[in-house]
Amino acid sequence: MPQGASLSLRDLEKYYDGSGAVLGVSLDLEPGKFLTLLGPSGSGKTTTLMMIAGFVDPTAGEILVNGRSVTRVPAHKRDMGMVFQSYALFPHMTVRENVGFPLRMRGVARSEAEDRIATFVKLVGLEALAKRYPQQLSGGQQQRVALARAMVFSPSLVLMDEPLGALDRRLRLQMQEEIKGIQRELGLTVIYVTHDQEEALTMSDVVAVMDGGRISSYGSPRDIYERPQNRFVANFIGESNFIPCRLGDQGEARRCELISGHSVAIAPTDAPAGSSAVIFLRPERLRLCKADDPLPNKVPGRITGEIYLGDSSLYRVRIAEGVEVKVKRPNRGIGMPIVEGDELMVGWKTTDSVILQT
């Protein structure tokens, strides 16, 4: 039974002096889910979060928590826990006092407050440091305090604004796991803002990719990554290949023609015959193979470069005049060695491709 609430946004808009920061955002999130607003800076993700929190008044639209509108409820009565990138810990209070702050503001009885503080300080692993001041803690520890403080009062929603942005990579990965673990354990509804696509994919139940003040794509991390709905999303998340093509006739086994003249099978799409489109393929879904490989789609190419990544290598392969694709190949130490200048086939399964209209 999740303790978090459900969240719905209805045509949420925010204009600053006539220019739009958020242009009609709508979504429905079930209780206990982890939603990430992902997008480049200026996409409106932080403004959306600030409107949910109540720090920014929407120009139009509704915010509903458990089906009840909170659009005109002031921030301190919204019952939401907020975690900032800058931690925003109160420097004049100890760890315990920081974590206890929301309880004190709510007039929670002392004994109950003590219990809750102890529970949450322990949950984030800071029992030994409970009497320290924020300045005496490392960045990771400070963020743990901020997390405990945002959760201690069982808020309806926990809002996080790039909470791990200031931490180094190793710590970030560790904190991602911890946050995810706590969120699952307590059944919290979390709205998480980040521009880090990896973070969005690993932590979220639902990802909303934002672009220019709108939700450009909404779905599970797997859907967003493997079946992007448009070129912006495909480009923004992960490495992508876009192979220009002209679509063939509609039908069961639809095909399209590449610039090089090769014909390949494509997944079903409504796009009309003869229109130009791009075939979207992830580098790790492409394979370098020989002409006799059983893969259904193969086009010849020449290796023009290699980027060594440790666990894998990224090859650049030219498959037509002006068309290069990236192919990711795990370094398992098996199979043929590949060097620049090799003439090979690039192959893929039809179901791994997505047709995006241009």
Partner: protein, 272 residues
């Protein structure tokens, strides 16, 4: 290497630095000489101001404490300085919030207007207020003097509080409100405690600005209810006895203590 270092940092005993040190010491000596003389004279046992004094006594401090005229002036000075500190702090804080956190037409004009008492000669402010107070019938009242001192204390308060507000991370207030604090509780539990060093500094500066003032006091107080500086002024014109030296020493001590407190607070808060 060593020759390079020599050219970059000239030896401490070069003629230039000796000259500079001599000059600095001279300036400091000239600045401090009057204070030293006053302090020394205040402990003299004789009936007249003499330097160096012929011994040591506290009789002029006793004279100060036992004289109701001096005590009245002291009480008035403390009262006015305290009220000035409170009033300029309340007004200055509100003005600073408006100046730092909101934008309105003429904001810069307001800022400059508030700073103007620092630039305009005090005598002009004094004359202006004198005629205004005559019309308003508040000449010689405690309120009138407090209002005038608030005017000259405001620039210090606004400067100190504005600077602190500029560097204050507003996300802390947001965090507090997000965690359930009403705007007022956020102010009380987060903003005020964090601005405490600035608030205390501002209050001390305002207190000293009022406590040290003579020009406004000369114009705006009654002869029967003078401030300490005005009482000194009056005494100097009538009888010159070492009581003035004792009073001046105490006044200097209070100002120095105030500034020392400000420095201490700043040191503590920057370490915090």
């Amino acid at each position: 290497m060593s020759t390079q270092r020599m050219t970059l940092a000239p030896s401490r005993r070069s003629p230039v630095s000796i000259l500079l040190a001599a000059f600095s010491i001279t300036v400091l000596a000239i600045l401090f000489a009057p204070i030293v003389v006053i302090v020394v004279v205040s402990f003299s046992p004789g009936d007249i101001m003499e330097f160096p004094p012929q011994g040591f006594s506290l009789r002029w401090y006793e004279a100060y404490v036992s004289n109701p005229m001096w005590m009245t002036a002291t009480r008035i000075s403390f009262l006015v300085a305290t009220l000035t500190a409170i009033l300029s702090l309340v007004l200055g804080f509100m003005v600073s919030v408006a100046l730092v956190r909101s934008s309105f037409p003429g904001k810069n004009a307001v800022r400059i207007f508030l700073m103007s008492p620092l630039i305009i000669p005090k005598i002009i402010i004094a004359v202006g207020l004198y005629f205004l107070y005559v019309r308003m019938r508040i000449l010689g009242t405690t309120f009138g003097l407090v209002a005038a001192h608030t005017l000259i204390a405001m620039p210090y308060v606004v400067m100190i509080i504005s600077a602190a507000l500029y560097s204050f991370d507003r996300r802390l207030e947001w965090a507090a409100r997000g965690l359930g604090a009403s705007p007022l509780s956020a102010l009380r539990h987060v903003t005020f405690p964090m601005l405490r060093p600035a608030i205390i500094s501002a209050a001390l500066f305002a207190f000293i600005a009022s406590f040290d003032d003579i020009i406004l006091s000369l114009f705006l107080t009654k002869l029967t209810a003078p401030t300490l500086p005005r009482q000194i002024w009056v005494n100097v014109q009538q009888i010159i006895d070492p009581t003035i030296a004792a009073v001046s020493t105490l006044m200097t001590l209070i100002s120095v203590l105030g500034l020392w407190l400000v420095a201490l607070i700043q040191k503590l808060s920057s370490r915090g």
